[in-house]
Amino acid sequence: MHTERFERVKKSTNLHFTMEADEALRKIEDFPSNPGAMGYFYDLFRSVYANGGSLTHKGTIIGTMCVQVPEELILAAGAVPFRLCNGAHAFDQAGAEFMPAKACSLARATVGMLHINRSVHKERLGMVVVPATCDQKRKAGELLREMGYNVYILEVPSSKNSEEARHYWQNSVKRFTAELQHLTGRKITKKSLGTAINLTNEARRQFRRLYNFRKISPPVVYGKDALLVSNAYFFDDKERWLQALTDLNNELELKALKGESVGNRHAPRILFTGSPPVFPHLKIPLLLEQSGAIVAADEVCSSTRMLYDAVAYDESALYDMIPSVADRYLKPCTCPFLVLNDDRRRRLKDMAGQFAIDGIVYQIFSGCHLYEMEQRTIAKTFADSGIPLLFLETDYSQEDTGQLSTRIEAFLESIKARKRRK
């Protein structure tokens, strides 16, 4: 009786998720002159999400709940990192059974997805790594353990400024390394870690190429495509993803050389920050670009924060490589769970200059107090430099689309008026 009901809920949730994914993809593709190389990514999402397909990865899959999980180590241990952070309203609703109504959509949707599709995921995921970052993620980790997942809590310091914090984190990563090796039964060697670092660094190099193309004005690529590319990194095979992004970059390079551009030449250039847009919840970036703006840059953990920084190590030996990998995940991090997060403000300011930004759009998911509390200082920073900031509180539902579009359009209109008067 109970299971029968669950099967029904599962069926309907997955159906709604498929509908959501399909709608999002339609919106993403409904733009003129999409790059040919984006086809790979559109197809990837369609086959995996909209058509209810599944992924085939060789080896143990390690689910990760945050950008704080060092994927080089997972790869070096012969496993596959798979970021679980979910963006679907259907799963958000399913997660409401476990988490408070005021919890953030992302954490709730992730829990919801792992609850609804537990039969598949418990088998596929060798381990779910939950970094102890924000409250919602931490407690979600406990919930997942109760559901029967093999949860590993990766301890993270709450500040990154002291040497003690750094060493605490490095030790935590060392413990994680041991656990990984135990799980996969494969020893991480200088060679395997070196190969993993080379692969991920190459991914970041290609990501930075894309990042740099977004600096060009008039723009050569839409932000929605850039976001989809980094979203694909969550789950796609790394080598395949790398090839597809390289192709896209090469295409964009040609486009830039030929002087081709997308959208309006005078389109307001937006820097997107705050809670991360995760497919299919690309609502706000899409609304922005549908309304004639360009999301020229983003400072979110589903994109730039995930793929910008690379590992640098000094000595080719595990004793130096592992702490180097660890450093990469703590030192440049600008997630607001870290206390004294001046780096984020500086980063945004620097990006606003580099990308010739006209306005900032700051998304927060209702319930994410950390992003909401940082909003004030960020807004103040930009008020001083004359760049307007639009603060949008939202969740995964589409109910507020009308309201949001009015706000977004008014914001863009005021930017355009300002630009015209200059």
């Binding site: 307007p388 509180e393 009308g402 309201q403 009015t406 706000r407 359009e409 008014a410 209109e413 008026a417």
Partner: protein
């Protein structure tokens, strides 16, 4: 003679304003939006043109705004109601230049717009998803008090003594609160005043968050309600400027933008 049309399709009413080449209001009309709002809007526009004996081809440019703006395909351009409202207020002649804050109460939302020195949008905020502190809230209250919405102002002005306290901002709960206040022997006047103060306080709080400056320009249909204006004056402790026909400010702003766009296009052709 060329005319410019601004059409504001709101959740309750559709407002149409025609301006002439001097930017003065030549004619305006208000019609219920209804469920077939595209059809209703087109009919309202046609009726207005017919009444004023203006030919369709004499309209140089149409700008639509409001929630239904995207669906009005006849428009040459759409603009958000925030930009349109600011343009309307800026050009209304009603104490223009003396205010830097606009409070707009519509059928299902309320907005606060801050203007810069030149009267352009500097910052804005809107209420959240619910209908608290909007025209809908007033309609509900009037219905429960068994009076007309237009009478609310008069009731407020007639009230003496202490206004009744309305604690709920949620429309649903406020409804039952009003009923129990009536049962508890409060006069209609006191309840109406209480309702107005509760709305004014709610919106003033919202305004306090973004920081209001100078005099306040108050528009939207509910600005016709004298009682509500008085409550705002008390709550904000500032002078309130209400235009003659506050419900059409946004549509007028759209017409202003239409004229500007028409002129810009003309320049382009001449160049």
């Amino acid at each position: 003679m060329k005319y410019f049309c601004g059409i504001d399709i709101g959740s309750t009413a559709t407002k149409i304003v025609l301006t002439d080449e001097e930017g003065k209001i030549a004619a305006h009309t208000t019609a219920p939006t209804g469920s077939h709002f595209h059809k209703n809007a087109v009919e309202a526009l046609e009726a207005l043109l017919c009444r004023q004996q203006i030919k369709r081809q004499d309209i140089g440019y149409i700008v639509s705004t409001g929630y239904g703006r995207k669906l009005f395909k006849e428009a040459d351009e759409t603009i958000s109601e925030i930009t349109a409202n600011a343009a309307g207020a800026r050009n209304s002649g009603e104490g223009a230049g003396t205010f830097r804050t606009i409070i707009n109460i519509g059928g299902q939302d309320s907005k606060i717009i801050l203007l810069d020195d030149e009267g352009h949008v500097k910052h804005f905020t809107m209420n959240d998803k619910c209908a608290a502190g909007t025209g809908r809230f007033l309609e509900m209250a009037a219905r429960n008090l068994e009076i007309e919405v237009d009478e609310l102002g008069d009731y407020h002005m007639k009230s003496t003594g202490v206004p009744a306290t309305i604690n709920s901002t949620c429309t649903v709960f406020a409804e039952s609160e009003i009923i129990s206040l009536m049962a508890g022997g409060h006069s209609r006047e006191a309840i109406v005043a209480g309702i107005h103060y509760s709305i004014a306080r709610r919106i003033s709080r919202l305004a306090g968050k973004i920081g209001i400056e100078d005099k306040v320009f108050f528009d939207g249909g509910p600005a016709l309600n004298r009682g509500l204006v008085a409550s705002f004056e008390d709550e904000l402790m500032r002078e309130i400027v209400v235009p003659e026909t506050p419900q059409i400010t946004t549509a007028f702003g759209a017409a202003v933008i239409a004229q500007e766009a028409f002129a810009a296009e003309g320049e382009k052709i001449n160049v």
